[in-house]
Symmetry: C2
């Protein structure tokens, strides 16, 4: 994986993972989340915080607490899972925390995949689900290949577009690796997330070329002028990033009955914390046992990763597979603790 500088903040408080987990759960419970909801959200937030994706880590607890208190997100949703086919299901998230609905959906997809080879489960009437990789990983930890997407509110211009259209619409996949942590890809279909732009604006730091645009849709490297993102591929090949964002919208919203990105209420930058947003997700699980078989899958996966990690890199070190950097951070943070920005630390009771 490439450079992630989601933890650029100068001032942090380093907190032991288990204490952080406890307090995250407690704050969500205090904000009105029932036990399963708070558990699921904590699990997803801690996944991101453990592996260094701090943009989607415990920092988000303030946002979820506000949405729970405002009524936008229901703390005690009545989630329903409806089998719509032998290998398909639709989850109605009842405007609860997206994490609970997405873990339920991926568990259902995995159960269907174990029975039938593949399972596909859509989720409607949901909310922000944090790091997509959390749910793909859940499948891989059960021995299956997991794929998930979520749509989001308009913040990324179309290719050659002058206004925001798609969300950052991530695609995540995780695949089990024998004797190792899974292969894990979790990527937005824009080059950078919007909160990196905000962070750079705060730090007075210049953005890379062709990742963000100003109010009129012109590419800018001035983070303080950036009003929207440019899709992955930049000014020249952004039609690919925009196409992938559309793929995510079709799976997550059009197939599930959720709100397509341009029709979705904004997640932030609004005073309305009362109206649900009808976010959509999609989960697919595939069981290697029902394709080439476990033994061959394991052998090919290990051979592929060995070849990848033996491949020369400019830096003179080994090439990394998606997830490799994250598992290194996870190991490091397990001993050193997790750096948390001061505002979030205070909210969680670490003054």
């Amino acid at each position: 994986m490439g450079t992630t500088d989601n933890s650029l903040s100068a001032s942090v408080r380093v907190i032991d993972a288990s204490r952080l987990e406890e307090r995250t759960f407690a704050v969500l419970r205090e904000a009105g989340a029932d036990e399963p909801s708070a558990h699921a959200a904590t699990r997803a937030l801690m996944h991101a915080s453990r592996i260094g994706v701090d943009s989607h880590g415990v920092r988000l607890v303030a946002h979820y607490a506000k949405a729970l208190r405002g009524g936008r997100i229901k703390g005690a949703p009545h989630i329903t899972v409806r089998r719509t086919g032998v290998s398909a299901a639709l989850v109605d998230a009842d405007d609860g925390l997206g994490h609970l609905a997405a873990y339920r959906a991926m568990e259902e997809a995995c159960a269907l995949a174990r029975e039938n080879g593949v399972g596909a489960v859509g989720v409607c009437r949901s909310s922000h689900y944090g790091a997509a990789g959390a749910y793909a990983l859940a499948a891989a930890e059960m021995g299956l290949v997991g794929l998930t997407t979520t749509n989001a509110d308009s913040i990324v211009a179309l290719h050659d577009g002058v206004v925001p259209f798609h969300g950052t619409n991530p695609i995540a996949m995780a695949a089990p690796v024998l004797g190792e942590r899974p292969w894990l890809l979790d990527m937005a279909t824009s080059s950078v997330p919007m909160n990196r732009v905000h962070l750079y604006a705060t730090l007075g730091r210049q953005l890379p070329e062709n990742v963000a645009a100003d109010q009129s849709g012109r590419p800018t490297t001035d983070a303080s002028l950036a009003q929207m993102l440019i899709p992955l591929g930049g000014s020249e090949f952004g039609f690919k990033g925009a196409g992938l964002a559309g793929l995510v919208t079709i799976l997550s919203a059009v197939l599930t009955g959720a709100a397509p990105d341009p029709a979705m209420l904004p997640m932030t930058g609004t005073n309305d914390f009362a109206t649900p947003r009808n976010v959509g997700h999609f989960c697919i699980a595939l069981d290697p046992d029902r394709f080439v078989g476990r033994a061959t899958y394991d052998t090919l996966m290990s051979q592929y990763l060995l070849a990848l990690r033996s491949s020369s890199a400019h830096s003179g070190t080994q090439s990394l597979a998606p997830g490799d950097r994250e598992w290194m951070v996870e190991a490091e943070r397990a001993t050193t603790g997790i750096p948390v920005d001061l505002a979030t630390a205070a909210l969680l009771g670490f003054p």
Copy 2:
């Protein structure tokens, strides 16, 4: 979709589609393809030629004829479809033309999806299957959402890599649209295809920044020095393109038993046209009837596309959805004919 300049060649012969189709079929038959194989390959090649993706159009017939004559590709394969789960199957392509195996796989995936909501079918022991979009489109024309991937021989560096590792590993998805041609995305996970690099070298034209690298893996805009491609996202965000290429390898090869990209024999630039290459593909079909239901799917899809096409673009014209440009080219070529490079035209009997 963005600019495709796959038809830059100066000298072309413009040929009526039905005559081109006849001759393509005939030349494949003469090279040893049996009727179903020649039919499938012709269908896929004509799909690409009709919509303007000339890099994957009838131009490839010379290559397939050579591979058929050399024995690398079997003209009369015994393709087997094995149900490995209620909603899953594996296709053994028996070293035949990839087009036949992939159409079979997508048809099987669609049949499974109609029964069960989703179908997933892997293909091993296959060969180059041309434009991935052909098979996704086949699903959409049956009213289903179709997804397909194929792996390929090493030609794209890893992010920060100095040697070729992944293939150009395309991802294609097509989705039906009520009363219109389908939404259709077909994209390599590199920024450009290698044959565009070769074309630019011939024309003495400069490459865009960060799409190709020289022998030592350093980015170059000199097409004559380019020895490998850089993944989508370029020097800064190429870890995303490389991650997507890996996703394709895992689905297409690791789950199916095909050769992972670095273990695959090269498609071109080799004298060995006798040894099969064990290319892998993957197909997923999803039935909207088994998710949110057809009526809601159709409504949401139309609303989404209306919003997209109403979204302002820099060019002052409407924004385009994936496929829009291709369907315009298709309509144009239906009346004007299809431009074919002179060497291919001659091979097909249009001197």
